[in-house]
Symmetry: C2
Subunit: 418 residues, 2 copies
């Protein structure tokens, strides 16, 4: 039986989960994969973590050189996070011809071109399933399950923390602050709150997912981003009344000669497959020109779900060393400057505090050519709720400007609708 | 650019969809896969079908020998169906060292051992994504996305025809006969009605899915099978009242030294992810020891969804000729005689017409050690609805026997609950 040696860089949550997954399944992989998968080396400066997992002392490396020079190491798993040491270490591993498996979305979103170039040059593999949706095998599905399709669009729930918060808020299980505290307590939030709440994490993931789906590099800077902190309790109440829930979405659309890529909260109809994806679950709803709609969902984070993704990548790599880059068969197609649409089209939900008359407000929509799908006038609250048909972002903003200029109403909420 | 020649055996619905998918995406695959994928040969006796697709005359083969001897053919796609000609042709292709991609669940469920042995001997690939859930890449996910996991259980909706019928019945869109007629009219039913309605199609798919999930051959004869024809309108009404819908499920469970494999209708709680899978959609809800719960859903049949699965297999095979058998890394583990549990455990839904007193009926459950989760006594109709906690099939049957023996009630329905 062929022995496959793994090095783990970092033994935090993901690295620890990977260590456990590999060691506890050794016999299972011998039987089902015909491979003897063994952790041969770990690089971790926190001795507590090493001790807690029971890693044998002789397997603890003192620096990256020791790891990549180790002839027993075939595959290097990077779970350090960040882009400084992680980039240096991954490049060192690739240059030593080792296949790399990473869970590092930041590293990949920022440095994929460099990493892929080096991987190709040194004939080393580079796999990144765990970087996008934890245990949900969305990368493998895009690469090897639906690759016969032109992916025309996708809508994803890719950040478990915000999805948990929005689910709890929607069920009125506390105020935003209370739920945020709970999220920290159960350990599903990043120390840097903004990273989750303002949609940065989702943007990195979207950059990778859109690049894979549309076969062209989508830089993170070109992705529209809006977090969940501006959503009010009133928005949840209104959404529910209208038959919607609110989700933070990562959306990608393929257009004729351009793409649309955006992260923002949106109203999702109760009957949409994504509406039932609650708590810390992630999901991807994608459309291919042959297959039609496909939904994937599962746990988007956590030690063992991430371990599942990483070790599945490791096993795939061990069986396909020739498959040197999962991300692009053809890196050169990635270099063209893709046009990213900024004035995208969407349906919109608006909540107004009426100051003039409702009919005057509504007529401004019509004047600008915006069709209204439904509206509710709550006379006693002086509130007007509007859901439009699809229209351009620039047009909806000009309608709002006009309404406010004429002091017909105060715009209390503007949210997109899918 | 490497040219990859494909032969299509059969140009029916699936074969035609595959032909279209390949020809319409030629340029796309050149760009994204760095492959020139071309249909080099077709074998189809119906000239109308050949003409309708516009296949060039010189590509039409007159017999299988001509196809497998053609040096331009690298991959043979079998879409004939059945097990006679299909088996012979697939074996001929494998013996000629051609990789085979098939959508034929019957062939695979019945002859997988022979096919895999021959594939291995002649170093030819064998891929079967399209045989299970149409466009949903469940096979690839089990093989290359979640293979780090011990799959502990799965529950699937794998037959689109019955799912469509059950969805329509549940929405009261007609009688069973009317809906069945509609199903034939829109062309999603097999000519042989029993094949779908009595669960045979689901059994073949379950045999493949359970074999892949549990890494052991599950013969079709060992799978418990019950179709949807005994479900009454009253069952739908009661299920709805209790907060359930009814689905035909394919269930696999890994036990200590055995497996459970069964196809039968069951009540599914409204909040379960499978409850929202309606119409001709298929879905797989599976649980892995690391990843937790994962849901995959999409179109389970149709020309283009099946084309998506077949061509994704073709592209995967073209990039991984060394991956000779998708089904088992280790065919020898498949030969042990797995124990299939026949007296499985489940929750149950029972509908009784009360002839004695309700309390006497209920006390018989208690006497046999069956815990009741809820019951509703409809006094005016003399009806008692019971949902039990998990218990063995043999136990619930003995409870029913006792109730009928004592003439306490008439059992009008017995359905399992997940």
């Amino acid at each position: 039986m062929r022995k496959v040696g793994v090095a783990l860089l970092g033994l935090g949550v993901v690295g620890g989960g990977t260590y456990k997954t590999i060691t506890e399944h050794r016999e299972f992989y011998q039987k089902t994969q015909n491979l003897d998968l063994v952790v041969e080396s770990v690089l971790e400066c926190d001795e507590e973590k090493i001790k807690a997992l029971g890693v044998e002392e002789e397997k603890v490396a003192s620096n990256i050189a020791e790891v990549v020079m180790n002839p027993d190491v075939n595959i290097v798993v990077e779970c350090i996070g960040g882009t400084e040491a992680a980039r240096e270490y991954v490049l060192a591993a690739l240059r030593a011809g080792k296949t790399v498996v990473t869970s590092n979305k930041l590293l990949y979103a920022k440095h994929s071109e460099e990493l892929e170039r080096v991987a190709k040059r040194y004939n080393a593999g580079l796999h990144l399933e765990a970087s996008c949706m934890g245990g949900v095998p969305v990368v493998r599905t895009l690469m090897s399950g639906l690759q016969a399709n032109v992916i025309t669009s996708f809508v994803g729930i890719v950040n478990g923390t915000t999805n948990y918060i929005l689910s709890e808020l929607s069920e009125q299980r506390g105020t935003f602050e209370e739920i945020l505290e709970k999220v920290h307590k159960i350990g599903i939030a990043e120390a840097d709150e903004e990273y989750d709440l303002e949609g940065y994490d989702a943007v990195y993931k979207l950059s990778i997912l859109a690049s894979l789906s549309f076969q062209t590099k989508i830089p993170v800077e070109k992705i529209y981003r809006e977090g969940i902190t501006r959503i009010t309790e009133e928005d949840f109440r209104c959404a529910k009344d209208l038959g919607y829930c609110i989700k933070l979405l990562a959306i990608g659309k393929r257009r004729e000669d351009s793409v649309e890529v955006r992260v923002h909260p949106a109203l999702v109809p109760k009957e949409h497959p994504l509406a039932g994806v609650n708590g810390s679950y992630n999901a991807m709803f994608l459309t291919g020109d042959s297959v039609g709609d496909v939904l994937l969902s599962g746990r988007g984070a956590g030690a063992l779900p991430s371990g599942s993704a990483i070790v599945s990548d490791v096993l795939f790599a061990a069986n396909h060393y020739e498959d040197i880059s999962t991300a692009f068969k053809h890196p050169e197609i990635a270099n063209k400057n893709v046009k990213v649409i900024t004035d995208f089209s969407s349906k919109y939900f608006l909540r107004f505090q009426i100051e003039g008359t409702t009919s005057k407000v509504l007529s401004l929509f019509t004047q600008k050519g915006v069709a209204i799908q439904k509206f509710i006038h709550r006379e006693s609250e002086g509130e007007l709720l509007v859901i439009t048909h699809e229209t351009k972002e620039s047009v909806i903003k000009s309608v709002i400007a006009k309404i406010e200029e004429r002091q017909l109403a105060k715009t209390e909420s503007l949210l997109r609708v899918i």
